[in-house]
């Protein structure tokens, strides 16, 4: 794949029309006010048939889980079959991400955590019953999901310093712990809570388990949205659990034998490739706004685009756009060929794209001068939003160490 196909362009135009009509007029409330993104996302899902696609995905996941369960009952260990999506399916996911990210990258985060991280975790680890109970409503956006791993004292070293615990109790478990920086935390209906099984053993030997919590659970407090630098259209919060009792059927997989650590790689790869599409949206928008500004802003009697220092900025932005777009094409092309991107490569993509988006957005602010520093001109918001791409889904530093580890292995 060397360029978008006509079909891809049709999808892009259709989504762009929706963004212009439904999101652009509300950017101020979403990014500078307190409007949660969920109703607009639901409208988008209904408009583009994504709700129906979600139902189909849930049904397929349930069928797969039933096959897995049947195999286990026969004593076979059925490896989770490789699920690869076609290139067009991947493109169909990426194009809305790119278009949304031009105005509200936070909406992509809120959406991705709910239908991506949370639903995917339930689908890959849950029993057929659990998938039916929770995943379907998440995939249709009828319910909003949150995925709770990070804690005040554990970020990059998520499992190592994790303090949240589950202790066995009569008929279930008692859960305790604090989670923070949880996307959708304030509004989530369904929460995947990741913690360690406390058997009075050394914390580093403890199993990592995941549970599903529902809004309103006794002992569960969901904080108000936290104030943050950017991504204001993605509500982020804290979760406090004090002796929350959950029955056994809340344990994902309904067995303690599936450790959460295994298979986390797939989650990381999906998250990282999503960031590539977000970066492209931010870069495309910054570049487009900058080109228009360079043509129309007049200083010293001519458009600032006549000045070579401005031209240099535009050229560098364009090169970043070309590179990031090519990585998007590569991710789509790999799927077309039925291949998966190795984790180290996904790390490399995420690192490069997050840094590029940040650089481009800051250059756009500079190019706009005083106007760039003002909220009215949008590049200010995109610059604040871009910063988190270097932090969440694995910091730049973590990506670097994973790339290096893969190079030095063997």
């Amino acid at each position: 794949m060397i360029e978008w196909s006509d079909t891809h362009r049709s999808i892009r135009d259709m989504v762009r029309r929706f963004v212009e009509a439904e999101i652009k007029p509300k950017v101020t409330e979403l990014e500078h006010g307190d409007l949660p993104p969920y109703d607009i996302l639901r409208k988008m899902f209904a408009t583009f048939g994504m709700r129906d696609m979600g139902e189909i995905r849930a049904a397929k996941a349930q069928a797969r889980a039933e096959k897995r369960a049947a195999a286990r009952a026969r004593g076979e260990d059925l490896q989770q079959e490789e699920r690869t999506e076609s290139g067009d399916q991947v493109a169909m996911q990426m194009l809305p991400i790119i278009e949304l990210s031009r105005f509200c990258p936070g909406m992509v985060t809120a959406l991705g955590v709910s239908v991506g991280l949370t639903a995917n975790t339930i689908m890959s680890r849950g029993t057929p019953r659990q998938i039916e109970r929770w995943a379907k409503d998440l995939l249709t956006l009828d319910k909003i999901g949150a995925w709770a791993i990070t804690e005040p004292g554990s970020g990059s070293d998520a499992f190592g310093s994790m303090k949240a615990t589950a202790r066995r109790a009569e008929g279930g478990y008692r859960l305790n712990g604090n989670k923070t920086f949880i996307t959708n935390g304030p509004y989530a209906d369904t929460i995947v809570f990741i913690c360690k099984l406390d058997e009075d053993n050394d914390p580093k030997d403890r199993k990592v388990l995941s549970f599903v919590l529902e809004r309103g659970e006794k002992g569960l407090v969901q904080s108000k949205p936290l104030k943050k630098m950017g991504m204001h259209s993605s509500p982020t919060g804290e979760l406090f659990l004090e002796d929350v009792f959950v029955p056994n059927d809340r344990l994902l997989g309904e067995t303690e034998e599936i450790s959460y650590r295994s298979g986390a790689k797939d989650t990381f790869t999906a998250e990282r490739t999503g960031v590539v599409a977000m970066a492209l949206g931010i870069i495309e928008q910054c570049l487009q706004l900058s080109v228009e500004y360079a043509k129309t802003r007049v200083q010293f009697g001519r458009p600032i685009g006549d000045f070579q220092l401005i031209q240099l900025k535009l050229a560098k932005m364009e090169v970043a756009r070309m590179n990031v777009q090519n990585l998007v094409f590569r991710i789509i092309e790999l799927s077309t060929e039925g291949k998966r991107m190795p984790l180290a490569e996904a790390s490399g993509c995420k690192l490069y794209c997050a840094q590029s988006a940040m650089e481009v957005a800051l250059e756009a602010v500079q190019l706009f001068g005083g106007n760039g520093y003002m909220a009215e001109f949008q590049v200010e918001q995109l610059a604040r939003d871009a910063k988190v791409l270097q932090i969440y889904g694995g910091t730049d530093e973590i990506q670097i160490s994973q790339i290096a580890r893969s190079l030095l292995a063997g």
Partner: protein
């Protein structure tokens, strides 16, 4: 009901200020302009889709919509987009704009109508590039079909007719046209309560505007039938009746002047502008 919708691709009307006329004055230079479907034709397609469904269950199609465009290969994108929103098949008549005029398009459409045998032809009242506003009327005349132009509302009636509302000074004129017929539409046709098939309850309100295509439908549109027809197959005589002698940009607006006071203004209006 089977409906034929004529769609034209035009240079994006929002970029009209980028239109250039070369020094020779023999044409309009469209290089670098973005292409879009003519908005009135998009409204025509929306009206046709509303007439071939129950508005509450738009996924179940109740009728057939055929879209046709006259244009080069690139215009197939416009047709695919129409297929994605719900049209059943598409026809591209291979031609470029300079080979066409309203009369020739209407004559070629007549042959297509005879082949496809639709119950209704719906099209925009005019294309926003040439603004000729001719094709619908000429086509109805050539077919000897009834016509209703500038439609703001269309209601399908059980007795094989449509009731078309036309906004006129001081009210709405209603025309009952027997099918088959030609209807050209105005922009009000995409309001929430403008178009009703016999299947759609009169209490149902559509979303204002042109519908969106679902993403899987955009993918599936690749597999819907799209055929190419040569212009000469449809019209034996392809000679144009309308020829353009010369193109000229409107003169640039001259700078205005500032007046000191009302007295000077009145003086200038009387003596120079001669309007008082």
């Amino acid at each position: 009901m089977k409906i034929l919708v004529a769609l034209k691709r035009v240079a994006d009307p929002d970029n009209a200020n980028k239109v250039k006329i070369p020094g020779s004055g023999d044409r309009v230079d469209t290089t670098g302009l973005e292409w879009k479907p003519n908005p009135f034709d998009e409204y025509a397609l929306e009206a046709a889709l509303r007439l071939t469904e129950n508005g509450q269950q738009p996924k179940t199609r109740a009728g057939e919509v055929v879209v046709v465009t006259f244009g080069p290969k690139e215009t197939e994108t416009t047709l695919r987009a129409a297929l994605a929103t719900g049209a059943d098949k598409a026809i591209r008549v291979d031609a470029t704009d300079d080979q066409l005029d309203g009369d020739l398009v209407a004559r070629a459409l007549k042959t297509l109508v005879e082949r496809e045998k639709p119950d209704l032809v719906v099209m925009g009242k005019q294309a926003v590039d040439g603004d000729s506003n001719q094709v619908g009327q000429i086509l109805a005349e050539l077919l000897d079909w009834p016509q209703a132009t500038f439609a703001a509302t269309i209601e399908e009636e059980a007795a094989g007719s449509v009731l078309v509302g036309r906004e006129v000074d001081g009210g709405v004129a209603k025309l009952r046209v027997k099918l088959p017929a030609v209807v050209t539409v105005d922009l009000r046709i995409v309001a929430g309560a403008s178009v009703y098939s016999t299947k759609t309850a009169r209490t149902f309100k559509y979303n204002e505007g042109v519908r969106f295509a679902a993403l899987p439908a955009i993918m599936a549109a690749k597999k819907k039938p799209l055929t190419e027809v040569k212009l000469a197959e449809l019209a034996a005589d392809t000679k144009l009746k309308v020829t353009y002698a010369k193109f000229q940009a409107p003169p640039a607006r001259k700078a205005g002047i500032k007046v000191k006071d009302v007295a000077e203004l009145v003086d200038k209006l009387q003596k120079e502008a001669k309007v008082l």
